[in-house]
Symmetry: C2
Subunit: 330 residues, 2 copies
Amino acid sequence: MSDSSRAVRFSAFGEPADVLTIGDVPTPSPGPGEVLLRMRARPVNPSDLSMVRGRYGQLPELPATPGLEGVGEVEALGEGVTTVPVGARVVPLGVAGTWAERVCAPAAAVVPVPDGVGDEAAAQLVVNPLSAWVLLTEELDVQPGDWLAQSAAGSTLGRVVLQIARARGVRTINLVRRAGQVEELRALGADEVVVGDGEAAVARIREITGGEGVAKAIDAVGGAVGATLAASLAPRGTLIAYGRLSQEAMPLDTGLQIFRGTTVRGFWLTRWFQESPPEHVAATIATVLGRIADGAIDPPVEARYDLADVSAAVAHAERPGRSGKVLLTG
Amino acid sequence: MSDSSRAVRFSAFGEPADVLTIGDVPTPSPGPGEVLLRMRARPVNPSDLSMVRGRYGQLPELPATPGLEGVGEVEALGEGVTTVPVGARVVPLGVAGTWAERVCAPAAAVVPVPDGVGDEAAAQLVVNPLSAWVLLTEELDVQPGDWLAQSAAGSTLGRVVLQIARARGVRTINLVRRAGQVEELRALGADEVVVGDGEAAVARIREITGGEGVAKAIDAVGGAVGATLAASLAPRGTLIAYGRLSQEAMPLDTGLQIFRGTTVRGFWLTRWFQESPPEHVAATIATVLGRIADGAIDPPVEARYDLADVSAAVAHAERPGRSGKVLLTG
């Protein structure tokens, strides 16, 4: 391998178009217990862009390389590594800086990718399929016949939610911004699609659920959209906030909350990793990889860009109405 | 007893001063299984006034008599009643319309008041001491050494919270509107008093808790005050909303919620009554009556008005900065 490798870098927090650059950095060398990965693909996730803008729950020291997930091939082993061979395709967990040609990762923190799982699904395993899986099965414990409402239904995570819900017999109500998304989401298995937010959307969700409201909901948007889902909860219902794409506070009607005994809770996969026993994390990831291999979960991809075209990739990723994730390759 | 009894009435939802009247109604007659109570005292609670204004979770058919709690003496027994004697002092549970001279209640729904508990404490047993007790011990499971933050600390419920917290070794941070309340609350056992809301109050709460924030909080206000408490939560902390005195939505920062894994949940004592096993309700009320009898809980009273002076009583109850509950007597 060469002495230098390409990497996306930023040395100040700000708009990605202003602060991201591509350049050569010294190829990292795996320390004891580490492996060197030649990355093959990584998604452009909203959390990556939040971090570049300095608005994430954990911020790196600068300069830094963005990217919180991806898939790579083991290219070299550090001292004492026996658990993973050179040539293995793996997903590194909890390793920041994946928007680079090469990264080092603790051997204990890489998950081998089964043959039945392609690079494009493996690259985005954690932030979307795993998050969706934990949200639905652990945070909300969805059951067949439940109504589940979600915002940002057209997002990658939203589409994976539709896939998991369908496989589990959960009925979904999907809040979207534009009427143009309705047919596409229905084709993906959405039971109901509601356009817009506010009182009309709340009334429509109540109508769909026979006046009861939804027992369970997830929100990626915050602001008025999140408040619409909160106001649509059935008595004792729960809304999990997992994103705040609007960057706006959610105007929560605590009067409704009081009379209905409803809950709004935050969810961050990083905390789930920190607080879950390692065996549980491993078992859950294995389950999700199995669902990808058998086709029940199929995270969509809309476009691929070489690392060198990171600006175009980011611009594409922030375009509304995408049908899948933007990947960085090369 | 006379054929007619006095009662506060309203025949339209609106401002209490506009819609409440006092007049004579036929004395009710206890049906089978019921007792007739000669009421001795009832508090003017915010929930009573919300109901008169048509803004409560359950609204009566009109015309109606306000009042959701109080203490009375059994004056007559309906057919088949053997569990409670004439002359007993009792608190009726779940009986609306206590702002009357006489009300009927199911014998199964009245709680005898022990000799050590006076009328003025018994009259306000449910909405304040019982709510505070359930909030702290069941909803939040407070433990010695915990930090608990509350808004509306000067309210009757807030003062009872201070009493319960002190008896349990829980440290309190009390959010108030006016600096004038600080000394009084400290004298009542408040560990810390923070004046105002917003960023400065959040920073002060973080400072008091060594940067961590509070694990547990209760909010009676909503709006910016509730949002201040939500933003002051420690990782995995919980805020219980039990009132919305501001009538404003709580601008919830779901970004903080996500990164800290915090929860905002609504609590309504009516739902607790509906969802708790009757034996648990009875045992909890007995425990709270015991704490009142032994002096650990002493709900404060600021003023007493005859039923005929209901307008003055309501005006007094809505004055800011009271030191205790306004009771209706007679």
